[in-house]
Amino acid sequence: MFVLLRQLQRIRSECALPRPARRGSLQLRHVDAGSCNGCEHELQAASGPAYDLARFGLSITASPRHADVLLVTGAVTTRMRGALEIAYAAMPEPRRVAALGDCALGCGLLGDPSQIAGRVEEILPVDLRIPGCPPDPETIARHLRELLAR
């Protein structure tokens, strides 16, 4: 444990993450609506030690009932449409939807049209667009901080 903590201490100092000036916080709920798992890896990295979304007051919450933002990855498949709509309906107002990655934005290679319900925009009102395939953790953090400023 001592070795791990010492490594963590070193990671922390090497990353030298600046303290954010802005105050406030947002709870994020992620839904994979048909992703390739790339966006999931990068979103996890964004909340990991090298980027640490939490220092901006941005944290992943377990339930849509506690969420301010619905982060949707992937083109929405026919099989995920219902679950996505239920998650959105469960959120308290005011609520925001962020489309994360090119598939969610409808500009990636999506697959067989008969299996895809549509891009996120066609299903839910999208407030924030985070482009990339997948967007790197830095990009994810930057866009989410924009939402914090709104």
């Binding site: 963590l8 992703s35 990295a45 090298a50 697959g111 895809i116 997948p134």
Partner: protein
């Protein structure tokens, strides 16, 4: 060449003996899927090791039916269910035939009836509490004890195989790669190998070396991720964070070498465009060596962490015979003492003298699966140290024969043996089937978690750390 694919037409009457008897004759069935035959009628194809090479056995679905082999080869159970859902082939004798890709509303149609005093169901997903892909689990429990799990995946089914059909191989490659971000390289190389085999081409030394560099880099960041995920599964934050950062370091090295954190676009059909200069290779080699030292120190610390050992030792045991019966692959199989690794015989990649490594005590529990990642990490870093000793140069393929209609590619991904079978027609992909290691191993997750308590499921699940996207496609 040692990897020729022989095509064998099998009449329905001999199908069960041909596929079911493979094990007795030293062979191994690898994947099974349906396709439209040359006359347009459906047929079932099975890729298998025969003991002296690869065989693609083909059986016509007369009146839309083929004898089932799922009872004698349980590893092909999901394959048959998928083929029925997607191609309408009926597997005679496969009973009850539960849908896999389709999602009927009626619970009785897709779950196993579990009855008895106090038996109840716990439904989880498709949306999970963390940043996890979508999938639904139905736990049949008494109290906290899991009696049985019904797994319903394919929530992220995008019909990628179907979407790739009719495209030229180089256009189909990004579609196939889209199956999974974390296995993008392994799946792409398997597809490229399959296409090259079908067109009678063989990668030259430079291409083989370049692809091996990519496959091993993918394994390094995935294995680091998986060890961290298992620490997270027991709430050991220091372990989770140190290995999350190790993964991040690996991905930054990967980005420097290939221009993409997941190496999207780094694999091509018919050669390799990857070019890493001697200086860049030396830089990466040094960075990987430093990363390896830090991970080794962190791993040793985990071995002496009593609270972690207490949770992982003896948890989620997958016995050796069950691993064999279910056709489990990769680190999960090796953790159960099944010493198979496709890298031992990979003529289209660069693994001279490679031997699979197993954990010291391959007893099939979470601890063994965790250790399997640790020992393979060291092995992969040693391979990369050798491969990056000089520049990585672009390569091409050489024509070795006239090829055939079909080709098969096999790659040991971070999660295990991945198989891609391609059928070409007039320069386009007529049928492509990708069977990833995650596809092979999902039934084993349910098996290993049976008898565990419900709160241990996330840990058991993370010890396999399978992709959903790789299965759903």
């Amino acid at each position: 060449m040692t990897d020729a694919l022989s095509l064998t037409a099998v009449p329905p009457g001999l199908w069960r003996e041909t596929i079911g008897g493979l094990g007795r004759r030293g062979g191994l069935p690898l994947s099974l899927f349906a396709a439209a035959g040359p006359d347009g009628f459906p047929e079932v194809r099975c890729l298998a090791e025969t003991g002296d090479g690869l065989m693609l056995a083909v059986c016509p679905a007369l009146d839309g039916a083929v004898p089932s082999v799922a009872d004698v080869v349980p590893a092909l159970h999901w394959d048959e269910r998928e083929a029925r859902d997607l191609h309408g082939v009926v597997f005679t004798g496969h009973w009850p035939h539960r849908p896999l890709v389709h999602h009927p509303a009626d619970l009785a149609e897709w779950t196993t009836p579990v009855t008895g005093d106090d038996v109840h169901q716990v439904a989880v997903g498709p949306i999970h509490a963390g940043v996890i892909e979508s999938g639904h689990f139905r736990f049949h429990c008494v109290g906290e004890r899991i009696l049985h799990i019904d797994v319903r995946l394919f929530h992220t089914h995008r019909g990628l195989e179907h979407a790739a059909e009719g495209l030229a191989p180089d256009e189909a490659l990004p579609v196939v790669r889209r199956a999974c971000g974390a296995c993008a390289v392994a799946n792409s190389v398997a597809f490229a190998d399959a296409v090259e085999q079908a067109t009678g081409r063989f990668p030259d030394d430079a291409t083989r070396r370049a692809r091996t560099v990519l496959v091993e880099l993918e394994r390094v960041y995935n294995h680091a991720n998986d060890i961290g995920a298992m620490c997270a599964g027991v709430g050991l934050a220091p372990g989770a964070m140190v290995f999350a950062h190790a993964k991040e370091r690996a991905q930054r090295i990967i980005h420097d070498l290939t221009g993409h954190r997941f190496m999207f676009g780094a694999v091509a059909v018919g050669g390799s465009g990857l070019s890493i200069g001697a200086d860049a290779a030396a830089g990466a080699r040094g960075a990987l060596a430093a990363l390896g030292r830090d991970m080794a120190a962190a791993w040793r610390a985990l071995l002496f962490d009593a609270s972690l050992r207490d949770r992982v030792a003896g948890a989620g045991v997958l016995p050796h015979d069950e691993a064999l019966r279910l056709g489990v692959v990769g680190p999960a199989a090796r953790a159960s003492g099944v010493g198979r690794d496709l890298r031992e015989d990979a003529p289209r990649l660069w693994y001279p003298g490679f031997r699979a490594v197993l954990p010291a005590e391959p007893v099939g529990d979470v601890a063994a699966r965790m250790e399997a990642r640790a020992v393979e990490l060291a092995q992969s870093l040693a391979l990369l140290d050798d491969l990056l000793a000089g520049a990585v140069t672009p390569g091409s393929v050489t024509t070795v024969d006239s090829g055939g209609r079909h080709g098969a590619g096999r790659v040991e991904s971070a999660r295990g043996g991945t198989t891609c079978v391609v059928e070409l027609e007039a320069g386009t992909v007529r049928r492509v089937h990708l069977r990833t290691a995650s596809y092979a191993n999902w039934p084993a997750v349910a098996r290993a978690a049976t008898g565990a308590i419900l709160p241990d499921f996330p840990l058991v699940n993370k010890s396999f750390e399978l992709c959903y996207a790789c299965v759903d496609r």
